[in-house]
Structure formats: structure tokens, C-alpha cells
Amino acid sequence: MTDKTALTLTINGRDHAIAVEARRTLADAIREDCGQTGTHIGCEHGICGACTVIVNGEPVRSCLMFAVQAEGKKIRTVEGLADGETLHPMQQAFMDHHGLQCGFCTPGFLMLAVGVLEREPDINDDDLLDVLSSNLCRCTGYQNIIKAVRAAAEQMRGK
């Protein structure tokens, strides 16, 4: 079980050459092998969504994907959202609408919302609520997250 496979993960446009066991989750590889700890692990069984990252344009739960499955794919994590000092509209909206408290679930919500809105900018409110109900937050009661995502959606559409 200690046989390791050499592979390259491309995270936020940067290549990380790592060697991991076949069973290593993408979440662990991103965090431990590539040092990008902004992606959080909340349950390791694909329910809470804290570990959501964008792989080839699609939000995925990185605890349910093996690192070896992500080779050659474009991985985006929370660390890649901001443009230098300027926050991504989604990050800014979370700040403006107080969409976070402890901040642990936040990277997962940001990546989920950005991933969905990039694919489906005109998603209707009800479908958006369905999407957001796939991640868990224990602090906010969700209303400010919903407000933030709706506000950012409008701004992303306007771009």
C-alpha cells in the first residue's frame, strides 16, 4: 500500500509534481502534498462540501476523488480566486453581506457558487438555492450566504 505514483497536479495554473498512493484523496493531496490548505475537509464522505474545488470547470468534492484521477486536469481552489489584492466578486460579496462567521465552510461555498455560476450564469433563484443546499454551514443560518451569492451572480453576469 505504500506504492506511490508520481503525478503532476495543476492547481490554479501552477504544476505540483508529487508522489502519492493510489488511495490518496484529492483533498489530502491538495492540502498535504501541494500545501494549499485553503481547501478544508469537513466530513470525508462527500456531504458537507467544505472540500469543494473546481476541476475542469466543474465543482467537485475533493474528498470523493482520488488525486490520481485529477492528473492532467485543471484544478482551481480558493487560493486562486482573487486577482492579486483584488477579491473575486464572490469573495467580496461574502464580505459585504456577512456570508461567513467561522469561515471553515467558506472556501467550499465560494468554489461551489463560482463553479456553478460560471457554467450557468443565468441560473434561477430556486435552482441556485438547490445548489447551495448541497453544502453545509453551521454558523450563519445560510441567509447571508444566499444574499451574497445572488449579489455576486448579478455582478458576474454584468461583467
Partner: protein, 760 residues
């Protein structure tokens, strides 16, 4: 002269947000040290049994495994001590860090594996063989008392509280209302699981533990004592904390184990809990059965309440000892006049995960009981629920109101409140008469809809003291060093707002330090909605003291009197706007090391915010799903430092309260096997379940016990949610008293809907 900018009372943006949004937070799992070993806990798979032996040979043979510990390796470490309400008779029930001779719940730490890699540690833990002789588990906390095992009884103590002549009141009563009610087993379940990373620095002889939360100073003192160190050579360090809710940050076996192992092996030891572990190993809370009766007169005025309840504490008495049942007993009377009162709370041991506090501990439970009682009294007397509450409310003129009860080492004296006014305001916001009319019309059309009201008094601001040190750094930035902790609630922002106003600087120029035992020697931490009240006032006191010092020192340099100077937006200026001014950085450089002040706020009484929740629900009669159509909250916090943060505390509390009312429950099978071990079983509310809400934060009753009038806001969102939804569901079912158990899961509700009232 520019007008000074004030920050207290404004919903300014949080100072905490930027690193969290950028993915630059530093949560427990983000802390790593070179050469660290990973710890994995081997947990009992049996609810109750005699531990005959442990075979770790296969685990030890696995490459990468460094060591396996069982109880004999930690036999010198005493059981985990009590932090609050530690009754002497409970001491034999404390938990050792690894199981000794017996296992008493599924999830109990029996052994720990240390390995070079987390995956290997998990593999090895699976290979540790436990030889356990199963014993019959105790799972019912309400039956007869008996032996828990060879050495313990199932009822270590009984909490008794009361005042007045209860017997006489029942004899003289016009009527008696009796109810049997229960609340389910829940927990805070923060999104970040627990974690602890210990490192021994031999050069400095300092042991540090990262991943601390809530009460780092108390834990430093007691972990140090448990492993033979002192507070002087041990530091606990808090990073970002992914939610607390009462359950996180107490001393658990794992915290002590990483510290002991870091010393024993002289290696950094890292332990990160997984979610399954969290759901069976971190504190549970709330499971109580209440048998309550009220004596009333013909108009429904309460003459006495008599309550006997059973608290299912699980298998050990952890750091909170008797705290939760004590609070249940002490806080039950709530906002109503109760001339005579008796509470008898049985603390019971069962073979389940041990308990601690969870947001509004003891009050989520007792508010459910009291408010169910109010609804039952209303039904008995034939008036509506709002009217019966009005008749019994403690009046504004009766404040301060001595409840003649004690809890957490304090006398309960409601410091201020205008309960009737808040009821009026909240009902007005809810449009109560129109809502009632609308629901009536919809019920006539066949919809199962209804509304309810619940009222409560919260407690907050537990003392006895908080100390804060404020310093101007050489770059002019302000540092506020506190003895509290951040669990995501916005403590940095709130403290910065208070310090900013007292000093005359911008709140964004202030760094607030929390949770670092190496930065300030004493700290009470973050629990019991105490931070804003206790640390807030200490911050103000220290800042005022520092401001006086700054003006005195500046006056010397500027050759004037302190009274002629002011600090406006970070600049020391002359009040008459003449002559030169001076920045704080210039003063700090002129008087290096002198620009600091420390002060302490002492308080022997808690302060009591209060609230009203109104809910309207619709029941899906086929599925038993409850849609919360309208939710209105009124909460008086005396003075809101940052109204938006107060509102968000309430909103988050409501979501957790809703989970406990409708969805969440730690269920066990007949063998004591936990059935809620993943997020697919323990159902927390999502964005679909939590309704949009209207929140009214009022400041009608500032606390007379601190100059700013502050009361804490952390728990009022959760407190009455079970109570108000039960009331609304009764109304929807048009069956008073139908809801007696929480959570009202869809299965339970469907059963109620399908069963004719007569057969219940």
C-alpha cells in the same frame, strides 16, 4: 477639528474576513511541524464491556508505526477534571484519557497509534485487536436507578432547586396542568472537527498545544497539572476555529494524549478528528425527559411549577459535570412570575457518548418545557397563548428581579427587561392578527398551517473577571490583548470597535489578540455568551486608561495640559485646533515601551437578555415535512456593539435550533450502537430548510451592571426554537399539546397526522 468617528453601535465590516476568504486561514489541520507523528485513536466498538486485553502486535508490525499506547502507558495521568459545577459526588465518574478495565460507550478511546503518516496510522488502528467481554448496556435514563457497572451507580447525583411553598400552592390551585416532555440528543457539530497538535521545544522547555479553543487558559493549567508540568512551561495556542457552540475546546482525552506523547517521544504529535469520530466522541447534549406540572388559578396565573426531570449524561461526567441539568433547573421559570417552584433533576449515566454544553445549554430544554406548559395552561383556561403569557409576565417595574435561584456560582437576578414591550414589538413585526386570520382561512381551505409564540430569558456575561492589555505599537497600530477566544463570532471586530471609540482611533488600526496563553497570563475564554460583556468592558476600561496615559505623555511633549488635548481618528490634537498635532506612532517612538495599559473588569452577576420568537409553519401531510413559512425574532441585548453581528448570531442560532427541533438526533439501537455517525444520518439543516427570517434587535433594557449596558447575543437565536415550532405545529394540527417530544421528525409528524386524536 474633524469630528471623531464612532464605531460602537454600527454594523461595520468584520476584521476577520479577508484571510478566511482568501483561503489563508490557519485551522487546526493546517498546523504541521517537520517530523511530526500522526495520532489515531482506537475506539471501543462496544457500548458496555469489560476490557480483557488489547493486542497491538499487528499494528506495531506495520511499517511506519512508531508506538501504540493503552491505559497502562498513561496510568499516571489523572482523570479529566471538572471545569464547571463540579459536584464532589460526580468525581468517581470522570473519564480517564484511555479506557481502564471497562469500556462504557461506542467511541471511547481505548488505545492510540502513533505513525509517520495519517493513512498508516488509520491502517494500524484497524489492526489493534480489542478483547472486550460485552455487558448489558444501560440506555434508558428515566427508569429505576441501579448499577451502571461493578463500581458505579446509574444516578450519581440529583440537582434540587426551588423556593416557596409548592405543596400549598398545588392544594390551593384552581387547576393543575401536567405534561411529560422530552428533548432529543443533539450536539453543536462545528464544521471543523476537533484537532490538537502538540510540540515540545526542548531548548526552551516549553510544551505547546495548537488547536486550542474556547478556554485555553483553564485548559493550559489543567493539562499541565495532569501531565506533571506547570502553567509557566506550557502554552495553548488558538488558530482559526471552525465553530464552537459549547462543545469545542473543552479538555478531551485527545488533547491530553497529544501533549503527553509530544513529551514522551519528543516529537510533534498531530491529531485531527474525522467526522465519524466527532459524532461519537465529542460531547453530546440536551437529552432530557421532563415530568412537569403547574398549579394555576382560574385566570391561568401560575401559582407554582413542580418539575422532575432526567438528564441522560452518557457514560462519563466530563468537564461540565452538572452544568447542563443545573441550568435546566435554574432557568426554567423564564420571564414569568412563578411564586413557588421546585425542580428535581436526576443526573443519569447511560452507555452513550458523554455530554457537555451545546448553545443555550439547559435552556433549549427548559424553554421547551416551560413554553409547552404555557400553551397547555392557555388551553386549560381557554384563552390564547399570547394572552396567557401576558398575564404571567414579570413587569418592567419589578426589575431587578431576584429569582431566588442560583447557577454557575451566581445568584440569578434579572438585571433589566421589559418583556411585555418586546412581545408587543415582535407581534407587531409578525403582523400577528393578520397572520392568524390568514392561517385560519387557509386551514378552512384544507391546509395544515399554524403559528406559535415562545418567550424566554437568556443569561450572558458570566464573570468573575476579564483582563485586557492595550498597547500602541511603534508603527502607531493598536494591539488589544485579551483573555478570550474566537470561535467565529466576530470577537476581533467587536473588541476593536469598543477600543477604537475609547481611544479615538479607527477600528481597522486595531489588532485583537485572543486565545494565546503566552500573551496574557489569565483568561476566562469564550462561553456563556460572556465575551462581549466581560471582555468588552475590560477592553473599554483598559482603553480609557491608555487614552489618559497617551494624553498625559503627549502633553509633556507638546508642552500643554492633557485636558487641552484630544485623540481624533488616531491623531493627538489640540482641542482648540491650534498648533501642531502628533500621531500615535510619533508618540510611541518618543516614549518607547510606555504606551500600554491594562485593566480588569469584575462582575459577580450575569446579565439577562430576553427574547420572543414567532413561527408560522405548514405541514406536508403526506411526508411529514415542515416548511417554516415565517419566522420573526425579537431580542433585547441592552446595547448592540455591532448590530449585524448580533443579527447573525441570532440567525445562526435559529438554524441550529431548527435542526434540534425537526431533524437532528443521535439515535442508538438496543445494543447501544450509535446510528447517527455520518452527515447522512445526523441531518443538519441546509439552505433549503432554514427560512428567511425577520430579526428585531432592541436596546430597551440596557444592563445596569456594565457602563455600556451590554448583554450577550450568542444563544438567543437557538433557545426557544423547539418551543415555538412545537407551538406552531400544535396549531397546525389543531391539537393542543400534540407535540411532546423533540425533534419532530417527519416520521413522528406523519404518525401524528395519521392518528386520530382520541387514540393518542
Amino acid at each position: 477639528m474633524t469630528a471623531p468617528t464612532k464605531f460602537v453601535g454600527r454594523s461595520v465590516a468584520r476584521l476577520e474576513d479577508r484571510p478566511l476568504l482568501l483561503g489563508k486561514g490557519r485551522f487546526a489541520a493546517d498546523v504541521s511541524f517537520p517530523g511530526q507523528w500522526h495520532m489515531r485513536v482506537v475506539r471501543s466498538t462496544v457500548a458496555h464491556g469489560k476490557l480483557r486485553g488489547i493486542d497491538a502486535s499487528a499494528a506495531l508490525a506495520l511499517p511506519g508505526v512508531h508506538a501504540v499506547w493503552t491505559h497502562k502507558d498513561v496510568a499516571h495521568i489523572p482523570p479529566i477534571p471538572f471545569r464547571l459545577t463540579g459536584l464532589k459526588e460526580l468525581e468517581p465518574y470522570r473519564q480517564t484519557v484511555l479506557a481502564k478495565d471497562y469500556v462504557r460507550y461506542v467511541g471511547e478511546p481505548v488505545a492510540v497509534v502513533f505513525a509517520a503518516d495519517q493513512y498508516v496510522a488509520e491502517d494500524a488502528a484497524d489492526l489493534v485487536e480489542l478483547d472486550i467481554e460485552p455487558l448489558a448496556p444501560v440506555l434508558d435514563a428515566c427508569g429505576d436507578t441501579g448499577p451502571f457497572d461493578d463500581t458505579h451507580a446509574t444516578e450519581p447525583s440529583v440537582i434540587r432547586k426551588g423556593y416557596g411553598d409548592v405543596e400549598a400552592a398545588f392544594k390551593a390551585a384552581h387547576a393543575v396542568v401536567t405534561l411529560a416532555l422530552s428533548t432529543g440528543r443533539h450536539s453543536g457539530v462545528p464544521m471543523e472537527t476537533r484537532g490538537a497538535i502538540a510540540r515540545y521545544d526542548e531548548a526552551r522547555d516549553i510544551l505547546e498545544m495548537h488547536g486550542a479553543a474556547k478556554v485555553p487558559w483553564w485548559n493550559r493549567d489543567h493539562i499541565a497539572r495532569m501531565i506533571g508540568r506547570t502553567r509557566a512551561n506550557m502554552h495553548l495556542l488558538e488558530g482559526h476555529v471552525g465553530g464552537g457552540f459549547g462543545i469545542r475546546g473543552e479538555i478531551y482525552p485527545e488533547d491530553v494524549l497529544v501533549c503527553a506523547a509530544a513529551l514522551a517521544f519528543n516529537k510533534p504529535i498531530k491529531w485531527i478528528e474525522d467526522r465519524r469520530e466527532h459524532l461519537i466522541a465529542a460531547n453530546h447534549s440536551r437529552q432530557q425527559q421532563h415530568n412537569v406540572r403547574a398549579a394555576i388559578d382560574a385566570e391561568g396565573h401560575i401559582l407554582a411549577i413542580d418539575n422532575e426531570f432526567f438528564h441522560d449524561n452518557g457514560a462519563y461526567m466530563r468537564t461540565h459535570a452538572a452544568t447542563v441539568p443545573d441550568l435546566s433547573a435554574a432557568m426554567l421559570p423564564g420571564p414569568y412570575r412563578v411564586p413557588a417552584y421546585r425542580a428535581v433533576g436526576h443526573i443519569r449515566l447511560t452507555n452513550k457518548t458523554p455530554c457537555g454544553t451545546y448553545r443555550a445549554p439547559g435552556r433549549y430544554e427548559s424553554t421547551f418545557v416551560r413554553e409547552r406548559l404555557m400553551d397547555a395552561i392557555a388551553a386549560k383556561v381557554g384563552v390564547d397563548g399570547v394572552e396567557i403569557r401576558r398575564r404571567n409576565l414579570i413587569g418592567k417595574s419589578e426589575m431587578p428581579y431576584d429569582l431566588h435561584l442560583e447557577t454557575l456560582g451566581t445568584h440569578i437576578v434579572y438585571d433589566s427587561g421589559d418583556y411585555a414591550l418586546l412581545l408587543d414589538k415582535t407581534l407587531a413585526l409578525a403582523g400577528w392578527p393578520a397572520l392568524q386570520a390568514d392561517l385560519k382561512k387557509r386551514r378552512a381551505a384544507g391546509e395544515m398551517v399554524g403559528a406559535g409564540v415562545a418567550m424566554f430569558v437568556e443569561k450572558s456575561g458570566l464573570g468573575p473577571s476579564d483582563t485586557v492589555r492595550v498597547e500602541i505599537k511603534s508603527d502607531g497600530k493598536v494591539e488589544v490583548v485579551t483573555g478570550v477566544a474566537s470561535i467565529g463570532q466576530g470577537v476581533e471586530t467587536a473588541m476593536a470597535q469598543i477600543a477604537a471609540d475609547a481611544l479615538g482611533v479607527d477600528y481597522t488600526s486595531i489588532d485583537v489578540v485572543h486565545g494565546q496563553t503566552d500573551r496574557i497570563d489569565q483568561g476566562a475564554g469564550a462561553f456563556a455568551s460572556r465575551v462581549t460583556v466581560m471582555c468588552g468592558e475590560a477592553t473599554r476600561l483598559a482603553s480609557v486608561k491608555l487614552r489618559d496615559k497617551l494624553l498625559r505623555l503627549a502633553a509633556e511633549l507638546m508642552q500643554t495640559e492633557p485636558a487641552a488635548l484630544d485623540i481624533i481618528n488616531g491623531e493627538i490634537v489640540r482641542r482648540d485646533s491650534t498648533g501642531p498635532s502628533m500621531t500615535l506612532a510619533e508618540l510611541a517612538q518618543a516614549r518607547p515601551g510606555e504606551l500600554s495599559a491594562e485593566d480588569t473588569f469584575l462582575s459577580s452577576h450575569m446579565v439577562y437578555p430576553y427574547g420572543v420568537h414567532v413561527a408560522a409553519v405548514k405541514v406536508d401531510t403526506d411526508t411529514g415535512a415542515v416548511a417554516v413559512e415565517r419566522y420573526v425574532i425579537g431580542y433585547d441585548v441592552g446595547k448592540a456593539v455591532n448590530p449585524r453581528l448580533v443579527e447573525s448570531q441570532i440567525a445562526g442560532g435559529l438554524a441550529q435550533g431548527l435542526g434540534g427541533a425537526l431533524l437532528e438526533e443521535f439515535v442508538y439501537d438496543d445494543n447501544g450502537e450509535p446510528l447517527a455517525v455520518t452527515f447522512a444520518d445526523y441531518l443538519m439543516p441546509t439552505a433549503r430548510e432554514v427560512p428567511a427570517m425577520s430579526i428585531l434587535v432592541t436596546e430597551d433594557a440596557p444592563s445596569p451592571l456594565n457602563p455600556m449596558g451590554l448583554k450577550g447575543a450568542g444563544e438567543g437565536g437557538a433557545n426557544p426554537v423547539g418551543a415555538v415550532l412545537a407551538s406552531a405545529l400544535d396549531d397546525a394540527l389543531q391539537r393542543p399539546g400534540a407535540i411532546v417530544d423533540l425533534p419532530v421528525t417527519p416520521q413522528r409528524l406523519v404518525r401524528l397526522v395519521k392518528t386520530p386524536p382520541a387514540s393518542i
